[in-house]
Amino acid sequence: MRPFVPSATVRRLTPVAFMLLVVASSAPAISAEPQRALTFEADAPTESVDSNEPLALLASCDKKLESCTTDAVGMPYLIAAYLVLWAILVIYFTLARRGQRRLREELDELRALVREYEDTFLKGSEGDTTA
Amino acid sequence: MTAKTIWLILRKDVLIELRTREVLTSMALFAVLIVVVFAFAFSLDETRAKLVGPGIIWVTILFAGTLGLYRLFDRERDHAAMSGLLLAPAGPLAVYIAKVLGLVIFITVTEIIVLPLMLAFIGVPLPLEGIPLFALALLLGVLGFSLVAVLFGGMLASTRLREVLIPIVVYPVVVPVIIGGVKLTGAAMGDGLPGEADNWLRLMAGFDIIYLALCPWVFTRVMVE
């Protein structure tokens, strides 16, 4: 039975597909972030604040607002950092992989060539000895 | 045997230098020019001089030392003189030690010529009681720099990329020495906290000891065929 060999196009597209997959799957994690950051406040003590005391309420509001601003300011940096992380890894991997594949092709060719040379050389020397 | 070979190589370098004077003149001239450029670049006055003066001195030493290093090994490149030297009876170790001593001597002589001029140009006051500390810092710093620089200089002298590669690999390694030198020079000029100088001296001495042990080993390992 003939073994399954993906065509050249498939092989060439694999890294691209991988890249797309990586970007696509990390995108929700990143883009989902701003909403969660705005709604989720682990450290703002909302329950403990007495709603009858305006000053405490105001303070808790300030705190909430402050952490929201911190997150809003930091968000582009966070996204940029993760994009850079992925970009560096994926670009490097793709380039290294391509280099490796070329090298492998070169190696296969060379091996075949050397075998061919050896055959002709051996034949030639045998011819010499018989002659 | 080793001592004699070291002495012979060192004597050869010094004799060539005494006859041609090309290394010392180029180093000294270069050092003075760097200081002049810095003086313009920082538009130095008295308060700024105290701040950046030590840094300028050490950067100058670093650059002039690199220049001396290039010249020291340029000589050995013609007619594959380096391979001949490495075949000397005492081997690469003698070559390494002789070259380190040569570089230390060259930098020291350059400093003796240039430093008074530098201090005058920059305008930093060096009090008399600060001179021993300054001299000690210079000695430790120059030794540390030479140990590393000669190792890489000797290794990379035969490559085509040496002018690029030598600074790339030497400067990151000698950073501790440069920081220590700058700090000690500042202390000698009456800057910084009192107990601080001891720590920096210890750091520089530690650097010198570590590289005194490591560099000869690496040099012999790398250069032996």
């Binding site: 060999v5 694999t14 490796q100 060379l110 050389f121 | 220590g180």
Partner: protein, 244 residues
């Protein structure tokens, strides 16, 4: 002609590792809590520090492999191990520089919102920068002469000398100024208080290290193939010589 599995199999590992990395990122964003002072930006930390740890470990192991190469290269019967340790050292340096690039780009991106500046001369950042430069020099030298025996020796020398320098630089800069890098891992800065944070951090460190191991292995294989190509070229020229 081509072996069928060779074109399929190599994609498996990177996919697995990529999935693991994405899993960790998901964990970091979905499970670990928000840090109180720095806010969400804090989440750069997980991969920044994990990459930095891997990066320095790679450089350190590279130095050890280089020592191994320098010691063994002239011993009889150890030639193959020496060659292998040289190839491994080369791969380690390459991936170390890659990770260094990650650390040195995510570092400033984190530093800007967290400290207000893109860069400050803080001990560990400077240490990494200088070691990074040293190993960039190492790779430049390596690229200059692939199979040259002398180049291999020189590169090993650079790696061996670099490591004590890195430690001394760290020490020197710590002496120079206190530094405001958060001492998160040792716990002095109060970070990683939450168990989920510690869990996420451990996961990040593990995944990043595994990825490093895989990439190094890939590079080692590439170097081995390159060496074989060189050798086959030599064989061919020998054969051609003999045929004349």
């Amino acid at each position: 002609m081509k072996a069928p599995q060779s074109s399929l199999r190599p994609v498996f590992m990177p996919l697995l590792l990529g999935a693991a990395l994405m899993g960790v990122i998901y964990f970091v964003f979905a499970v670990t809590p928000r840090e109180q002072q720095m806010g969400e930006v804090y989440k750069i930390f997980y991969f920044h520090v994990a990459s930095a740890m891997s990066c320095l470990s790679l450089f350190f192991i590279c130095a050890i492999a280089s020592i191994g190469y320098l010691v063994l290269r002239n011993r009889k019967g150890w030639g193959r191990i020496a060659t292998l340790s040289d190839q491994v050292a080369h791969g380690l340096a390459e991936i170390g520089v890659l990770y260094g690039a990650i650390v040195l780009t995510t570092g400033p991106i984190w530093a800007k919102p967290a400290w207000g500046t893109y860069w400050n001369w803080e001990p560990r950042l400077t240490l990494l920068l200088l070691t990074f430069f040293l190993f960039v020099g190492y790779l430049v030298l390596r690229a200059y002469g692939q199979r040259d025996e002398k180049v291999k020796n020189m590169a090993s020398g650079i790696a061996v000398v670099g490591i004590p320098a890195a430690l001394l630089t760290h020490f020197a800069i710590q002496l120079w100024k206190g530094g405001n890098h958060p001492q998160v891992v040792t716990g002095e800065g109060g970070g990683l208080a939450d168990p989920a944070m510690r869990q996420g951090f451990a996961m990040a460190v593990g995944t990043v290290a595994l990825l490093a191991i895989y990439l190094v292995w890939m590079r080692v294989k590439t170097h081995q193939m390159r060496d074989e190509v060189e050798m086959l070229f030599l064989d061919m020229s020998d054969l051609e010589e003999a045929r004349r």
